[in-house]
Symmetry: D3
Subunit: 232 residues, 6 copies
Amino acid sequence: MSTPLMNQLGVVKRSIVRAEREHVDHLGRFGSATVHEAMGRVGLLKPYMRPIWPGALVAGSAVTVLLHPGDNWMMHVVAEQIQPGDIVVAALTAECGDGYFGDLLATSFMARGAKALVIDAGVRDVRFLTEMGFPVWSKNISAKGTIKSTLGSVNIPVLCAGALVNPGDAIIADDDGVVVVPAADVARVAAVAQQREDLEGEKRAKLAFGVLGLDMYNMRGPLERAGLRYID
Amino acid sequence: MSTPLMNQLGVVKRSIVRAEREHVDHLGRFGSATVHEAMGRVGLLKPYMRPIWPGALVAGSAVTVLLHPGDNWMMHVVAEQIQPGDIVVAALTAECGDGYFGDLLATSFMARGAKALVIDAGVRDVRFLTEMGFPVWSKNISAKGTIKSTLGSVNIPVLCAGALVNPGDAIIADDDGVVVVPAADVARVAAVAQQREDLEGEKRAKLAFGVLGLDMYNMRGPLERAGLRYID
Amino acid sequence: MSTPLMNQLGVVKRSIVRAEREHVDHLGRFGSATVHEAMGRVGLLKPYMRPIWPGALVAGSAVTVLLHPGDNWMMHVVAEQIQPGDIVVAALTAECGDGYFGDLLATSFMARGAKALVIDAGVRDVRFLTEMGFPVWSKNISAKGTIKSTLGSVNIPVLCAGALVNPGDAIIADDDGVVVVPAADVARVAAVAQQREDLEGEKRAKLAFGVLGLDMYNMRGPLERAGLRYID
Amino acid sequence: MSTPLMNQLGVVKRSIVRAEREHVDHLGRFGSATVHEAMGRVGLLKPYMRPIWPGALVAGSAVTVLLHPGDNWMMHVVAEQIQPGDIVVAALTAECGDGYFGDLLATSFMARGAKALVIDAGVRDVRFLTEMGFPVWSKNISAKGTIKSTLGSVNIPVLCAGALVNPGDAIIADDDGVVVVPAADVARVAAVAQQREDLEGEKRAKLAFGVLGLDMYNMRGPLERAGLRYID
Amino acid sequence: MSTPLMNQLGVVKRSIVRAEREHVDHLGRFGSATVHEAMGRVGLLKPYMRPIWPGALVAGSAVTVLLHPGDNWMMHVVAEQIQPGDIVVAALTAECGDGYFGDLLATSFMARGAKALVIDAGVRDVRFLTEMGFPVWSKNISAKGTIKSTLGSVNIPVLCAGALVNPGDAIIADDDGVVVVPAADVARVAAVAQQREDLEGEKRAKLAFGVLGLDMYNMRGPLERAGLRYID
Amino acid sequence: MSTPLMNQLGVVKRSIVRAEREHVDHLGRFGSATVHEAMGRVGLLKPYMRPIWPGALVAGSAVTVLLHPGDNWMMHVVAEQIQPGDIVVAALTAECGDGYFGDLLATSFMARGAKALVIDAGVRDVRFLTEMGFPVWSKNISAKGTIKSTLGSVNIPVLCAGALVNPGDAIIADDDGVVVVPAADVARVAAVAQQREDLEGEKRAKLAFGVLGLDMYNMRGPLERAGLRYID
């Protein structure tokens, strides 16, 4: 990867190594916040990436596509590379808020087994996408369509909303945002996430009962040593 | 229209030529994305214009009003010019995010037969507006009210969120955004939109069946000629 | 208060004077827009403060907390100071959009009787917060967590989203935004808000009947004197 | 102009009526602030339009060009339509910050007699443009170049940075911003601007001498009647 | 100060206690960064406040004015309250980017002895202001003027660009930004700033000689204990 | 690089392979725009990265540092890794606009031979940095300092302002922005840039003489075939 972002236009990589399904599914039981913590607080896409409808939680393997401003030609090329369980991650070579994706492409993506779209640009037909139950995380929403005239690439490493996504990486997305987990780390991150989750149930019960985090986490000593003063 | 934006303060034009109702209603069967395509990709208001509640789709004739920052006096003046089926399009002489419109004005607008408000500023009482089912597309939401002291104008051409709107033009708005169609073009645009819509049903069925856009649109040849390479 | 924002780190004030419950509850019958008007149009937090789920309307007494970027340690300290009916108002010493608050802290806050959180930063676990019915007004949403290492303060005057909030002040928040009412003014503001509300019912009925604001508010004369011209 | 922004791609209008040179030159003695006042406070492009180097003041006739995102092909087409004294006004069909214009195009524009460029997008080679003394007002600066593949239009009415510019209109630009004056109004606006300017010299002298605006403008009475109270 | 931001419109406070001149002058020998450090990192206005010309460094006592969007009437009222050495701090009741201040007001302010203007809005005539050498820190620049019709207040506490400014407080402004120092703290902050400055000269000499901060500040031990690893 | 952004905190890589000096120097004869073109239009940092003073043009090898919000501890660690001709590229784990760098660090960096700093955050002491002639490209300017308490890393791959920068890559920066060239591509990119530059001199001469780009680039045929129509 010495020349990571050059000579990359016009390439479709067909064979990618996807994160292991079992572990991706395991990650899918947690939300993006827990996975992000389990990752050591890396891998989060910028928070301007928002779901077009609330309540979805998806986990899948990334199929990546690099698009040009105002041009969604490669969205049809990436459709062919989708396997069931994949999440399409669309990056842009320059900022653009046009509507790259609507109900026709969503129909095609769903027929191929895609679980979601993550796109650092705009989408449209959001009422239909909502009715179809197809989850999308995007930068914005716009009725403005795109042309089909310039080559991008499929399944190359991309920078999407400030995060590096390699094809095959696991993607976890929900109302809190989108996290990317490198394929090689999926099992380990899932294990750490599970540990966090296991601990949280007990904590939640204590907190609901009225126990303070100050006591549960033994914070009073450190706070006092840090100089916290109580006054009346 | 040699001096399009001068000498226009303090004028209310009562007689405007509205786009033909039949064709506006026809446009109302399509969403903003389809109409925008049918227009040749012009006429879209900037995508920061968002609905205050999801799911609405409206089509109507524009009644325009030009407002000053922090002053909604003319909203009462425009109310009198509303005819059933109209959509009020409110533009500002300078940027302002105050809440120009709430439940009282909405009650008045609905009583006059207004179908919606499109405003390049803020609105408030959004919980009530949602309960009333009155659709609004706005730049933002703010509890901050306005005063009533400066004259603007009604039914003059306005620049609203980056688009030129003449009184009588057709407005199509939904979750994807807001499109303006000049009154003289309504019939033609509706016909083009209908053609697009007719073609989409068949396409959607094919895509749902698993046919790829690559094949349906005969893109493989052009992509190859453009230099697309598949690698493993 | 000669040195309002100095020497304030590492202090927790336990005894604060809360706005009278009866009057706060009274304010809670109105929305933020009405209260803001009754205040004389001051006290509104900036409109980027948005609810994480629609439809909530809360009123309560402010318990304040000053946080550092990326550090939510003091959220556990403030939890202990919450009394039933309080609303936690969290300000930042510098801009930050991280997710300071999630389902565990919400469980703790609810157990203490908190009615809501207003935070000039980000929150996470929004799906759970929504299911729990805990209202939050925040600057944004982010899965990114925070550390616990730096002292802030609790129950000092804070600048939150452009407004000065003293501990004990009344907070009114709904879909239109967040308003702060100084504790000493709560009774008076509630009375003014009630007057406005009483007048609005009658106005609403007239407007729904088709009476124009132009006539109801006797605007035709002032508009004419201001120079408004009607043309055809 | 019933269909103002349709059917306009791929058109170059060669014969336009330019604002009269004498009056444009007259306007050039004032800054954008004075001309904007003389216009009745209309015609100002949005304030994000900034000069790439400080201190320039230009006045000229608008030659307009409509560009697509990421595509500057029409900049070469518009070059041929430039006459000495013209200012090129470049609008975009959608938002884009790429660098549309650099030292080669500037060399060409200067050879044709252009006085400046006003572009609602980005430019590059700003060090060279500064050395050449060619004034540019733009939305931003970017090293990112553009392609040459899509038709726009030349000398059609355009919406540039929130203002409607017709070919032939006068453009006044300086450090305060960019103002457009309709060709038909140039003489009248220049006369009003001259009146303002004539009055300002005397005012400036009084103010420099220590006379207060309160007295010079007779504001004390109106302020008192408006309720202004002086306290100690 | 129980109702800090109410009942405040239409008031001019004539007698204010200014920070002691000697200490303000002392603060003026340091930049905003040093003073901000000496304050304990509070009191900085938001960094969108930028100087209209580079290189100025001013220190003075705040005379405050609260303005309404689009209305600069009170700028003439505040002019009368200026004493030599004062800096006018102008806050807004709502966001506005219009040009509130130009060469005429600057002439008046300079005649009264004002050292600078800090305004959370826009200014104009920047070429003249630059030539006059009058320093201004503002949110933006705009040729758009304002009206004179609504009362604000003078010499009340204001929230300006995210900071609380009381009349009489010291203001320090340079290319790095604007800091407010409460009047009662001026002597103490100046002393702390002087200590910092005294230490910096020696440090600067060492660093220029090639000594590393790692060694000068004895950071190697703490870094190692924090877990820093060096690899090849 | 299977887990590109994990386990990376607390690491300092001492031995990096720098782009060859001769070719980096060659690149330094061109501006960022030409190099960006020669790269095939990749490698540009986002255009919000602006120089703190105009006119600088630098080329050097990247030494990278990853920083936490509000914490500049690692700036002292990276200082030790600087070799003459290096440019420090500072990335952030989350968005922050604080002033991470001032005159003391600049003194140290210059003593080590650094040619410039590129930082996706804020800097301060800009008047001194300007006087010292040390070039900085940053996201913003802020007097707000930082603490020294959290480990980041040095000389790991970083995402800086939307671009992937590996230690040793070449950095070219000027008034148009900042471009990163992978170390392995420096010779090739310099050669391509030289070719472009060689061609531009002749073009510039022709354009200055009045030849149109339409003719020089043989655009009239393609424009006509694309459908361009000339009207009067």
